[in-house]
């Protein structure tokens, strides 16, 4: 699956985009959030509060229980500040 990060999330993780193979135990967007915390242990705290973050799957905003598949594009980002 393709994972994108935006704004300060991308800066803190030092990575705007990465490709990973979906592990069997990653079923939902929240599972993926926990996996990313393990992949970036030094930055784990910024992913602690799902309510303070947004997640999109295939460019649609979804809730954290949204199921994931290997072909998905998942994006994590802070609340939007356009306009």
């Amino acid at each position: 699956m393709k994972i994108l990060y935006f704004a300060w999330l991308a800066e803190r993780l030092g990575c705007p985009e990465e490709q990973i193979t979906k592990p069997d135990n990653v079923q939902t967007a929240d599972d993926l959030r926990l996996l990313i915390q393990q992949r970036y242990p030094e930055q784990a705290a910024i992913l602690d509060k799902p309510d303070a973050l947004r997640v999109a799957v295939n460019q649609n905003l979804v809730d954290w229980q949204h199921p994931l598949t290997e072909d998905d594009e998942i994006a994590f980002f802070p609340p939007m500040t356009g306009g």
Binding site: A7, A75, F77, P78, G82, G83
Partner: protein
């Protein structure tokens, strides 16, 4: 094209003239507009520049969906929405919303709806650069959520 997401500056005058001609073809009696500008201060100090990041693809999808919803909900025959991204200078326009309708109330409401929803739904993030050139990501305001929720339909 109703929606544009672009790095280039836009001409407010030209956009308004073009839009009023489109509105006239639809027998509209009113046009409302909103123009958002880059502020030239941050916490009472001078702002050097602003960078707007966005999620290419999703941004266009969300903005087009919002425009479709607004046209249907407020009976707007024509809408124009331009949102910029990239590096912007203080006082430059960031966003333009133009709405046309038969009477003014729908044009005003449609314009406010689009701006309120865009703030919370469209994937843009602002980074403000202070006079030392230090970047600060702008935090979303709770007020923005309250404004957007105002338009929720039960």
């Amino acid at each position: 094209m109703e929606v544009e997401v672009q790095e280039a500056a836009f001409d407010i005058g030209l956009e308004t003239v073009n839009f009023s001609q489109i509105a006239a073809k639809h027998h509209a009696g009113a046009i409302a507009s909103f123009i958002g500008l880059v502020r030239d201060y941050r916490n009472n100090t001078a702002l050097q520049a602003m960078r707007l990041q966005h999620y290419p693809g999703m941004t266009e999808r969300i903005l087009n969906a919002l425009v479709t919803t607004a046209k249907d909900r407020f009976s707007l025959p024509a809408v124009r929405l331009i949102h910029r991204h990239g590096l912007l200078q203080p006082t430059e326009p960031i966003v333009l919303v133009l709405t046309a309708s038969a009477h003014r109330a729908a044009a005003f409401d449609g314009c406010a709806f689009l701006m309120d929803r865009l703030k919370t739904d469209a994937p843009f993030w602002k980074c403000e650069y202070d006079h030392h050139g230090q970047g600060h990501w702008v935090e979303a305001k709770i007020h923005d959520n309250t404004q957007a929720e105002k338009w929720d339909v039960d």
